[in-house]
């Protein structure tokens, strides 16, 4: 990409932020109040609650200093973990106590007249102050709320979180581009790019600031690694190899031409081991660790053109581990236990999209 193009991206980005409500919010509102709200969201509320469990609106009002409490005091936020939340209003007081004010909460314009009010609905964060609404720009696609999503200090933990929150139901927008059909039966032709880009974006945004996450550009037989994660000014290099198993269609989308199963996963493990050895001879005194990530899109009994399947067949591989056998490439001290990232089919859609499947 030419630098002029990058310059224009930069200019457009700066204009977009300047024209957003963010400057007005930050300048007009007490920054300490905003930070108190965001700290509570990031370290307490969204630790206990997954934003995806909120189907309606969640409101959090920072009570003015000295305000009398109202509603019912929350003893333990963790009681909400795993619960489906439709609409809920909370009030946070100076002493750190939290009150459930659902039912007592007036119009957000009135509630925010003399206080900061945070609202979350439909994957959008808004902050109200003095009756004015400011939408927080959605810059981090790896979290439903810009204020959710903890920071990871270990790569393995981050990959496991990604598998559960982003890949299992293909909620990541980039990852959705890997599928051929809405029912998530067949992958598109050569789906490697969206798979690795999705994982890369998550790792880049969610690993702590001491990690640097880069896409490997030279992906071929001799350079199989997809993502490089460098920890702490390069004393540790983590090589992430991404492979997929399942069925994919041809470029025209008219037939299923590739069906990868366990052998494909085994081949990838051997490639990773070979590459780690090659890297070790090149980079010298740097600790190298291999991470092997396999996106698992296997379905039982797929036939291109068939529109209905027993649900049990579509989910047949959900709990079926890949059979690596006694593979030496995975028994090395410098290769982590592989990460199988299973991706669910979209059951309700399979039959209704008969033309595509």
């Amino acid at each position: 990409m030419a630098s002029t193009n990058l310059d224009s991206i930069f200019d457009a980005s700066l204009d977009a932020i300047i024209d957003s409500k963010l400057p007005k919010l930050l300048l007009g509102c007490d920054m300490n109040a905003i930070e108190r709200v965001v700290h509570f969201l990031r370290h307490k509320l969204y630790v206990a609650i997954d934003p995806r469990s909120i189907s309606g609106t969640l409101s959090l009002r920072l009570a003015p200093s000295g305000a009398s409490p109202r509603g019912t005091q929350f003893a333990d936020l963790n009681a909400l973990t795993g619960e489906a939340i439709e609409t809920m209003a909370l009030e946070l007081h100076d002493n750190g106590r939290l009150y459930d004010v659902t039912g007592l909460f007036g119009s957000v314009e009135a509630e925010s007249a003399n206080a900061v009010v945070y609202m979350y609905a439909n994957k959008t964060d808004t902050i109200w102050f003095s009756g004015t609404r400011s939408v927080i720009p959605a810059l981090n696609d790896t979290a439903d709320s810009q204020f959710s999503g903890n920071t990871f200090f270990f790569l393995a933990e981050a990959i496991r979180e990604y598998a559960h929150t982003h890949a299992l139901n293909s909620t990541c927008f980039i990852l959705q581009g890997a599928w051929h059909d809405d029912g998530r039966l067949f992958l598109r032709a050569r789906p490697e790019a969206p798979l690795r880009n999705s994982l890369k974006q998550f790792l880049a945004n969610r690993l702590a600031g001491g990690f640097s996450v880069e896409l490997e550009q030279n992906v071929d037989g001799s350079h199989p690694v997809d993502i490089r994660v460098i920890k702490e000014l390069k004393p540790r290099l983590m090589l992430v190899e991404v492979k997929w198993i399942g069925d994919s269609v041809n470029e025209a989308g008219t037939a299923s031409t590739v069906s990868y199963r366990d052998q494909r996963a085994i081949d990838g493990a051997n490639q990773l081991a070979t590459y780690i050895d090659a890297q070790r001879s090149q980079v010298g005194h740097v600790e190298i660790v291999g991470y092997y990530v396999i996106f698992d899109a296997r379905r039982k009994g797929l036939k291109f053109g068939q529109t209905t399947y027993p649900e049990a067949d579509l989910r047949h591989y959900r709990d079926k581990e890949i059979l690596f056998g006694d593979l030496a490439s995975l028994k090395r001290f410098d290769v982590e236990t592989p990460f199988r990232i299973y991706m669910e089919p979209k059951i309700g859609v399979v039959g209704s999209k008969a033309g595509k499947v």
């Binding site: 930069f10 980005s13 300048l27 920054m31 981090n140 999503g149 702590a208 600031g209 640097s212 390069k234």
Partner: protein, 198 residues
């Protein structure tokens, strides 16, 4: 060096307060961001007191900061486990006292402003956003370590800051340009993804 020593004490305590522990590169990253906020506020490079280098992979690094940090680790004020650092409670108390000293107000304000981006968006997001920082981007493209403060990107940085100053009046909290700058870099990253640029 006094400035580096002060920043080390303030930043290590502040990072611990945010996430209980921190990584060494985060210390350098947020010190660099504090320096940028200082430049936005009209500080000169010499006022900041110490220089930053860009490593080959585009991360900011300061020798002076590292030397002072090593002292904190050697004397046991900062403890390390598997390359994750955390401060002793006494060290956090010292940092709190230092931060409220009137002679430190401007400097501790800039350090605090650099952390406001972490509080708002999280540490990983900040690191990822800073990949699009014009100065650090130039270093990464060159694949060689460079002094960040004399980089050609610095001129570009100042022109962007000039634009940002139009909406951030003088006397505003330094947290405002800190968050707006990171939001801009995050927006750049998002648009680069759309254009297929990584």
């Amino acid at each position: 060096m006094l400035e580096a020593k002060i920043d080390c004490i303030l930043l290590s305590a502040a990072l611990c307060k945010e996430n209980e522990q921190f990584m060494l590169s985060e210390l350098h990253l947020f010190a660099y961001l504090a320096c940028l906020v200082g430049l936005f506020q009209g500080w000169s490079v010499s006022q900041w007191g110490y220089a930053f280098w860009g490593t080959e992979d585009g991360a900011p690094f300061s020798d002076a900061l590292q030397q002072e940090f090593d002292v904190l680790v050697e004397c046991g004020a900062v403890l390390v486990t598997e390359s994750l650092y955390r401060c002793e409670s006494e060290q956090i108390r010292i940092a709190d006292q230092l931060a409220v000293m009137s002679s430190m107000a401007d400097r501790s304000g800039l350090i605090d402003a650099s952390l406001s981006g972490l509080r708002f968006y999280g540490s990983g997001f900040v690191r990822n956003a800073m990949n699009s920082d014009p100065v650090l981007s130039n270093v990464r493209k060159a694949h060689s370590g460079r002094n960040l403060m004399i980089e050609e990107g610095m001129a570009l940085l100042h022109s962007h800051f000039e634009k940002l100053r139009r909406v951030v009046p003088p006397g505003s909290s330094p947290k405002v340009p800190s968050i707006l700058w990171l939001a801009t870099l995050g927006e750049v990253n998002k648009r680069k993804e759309v254009h297929g640029e990584h």
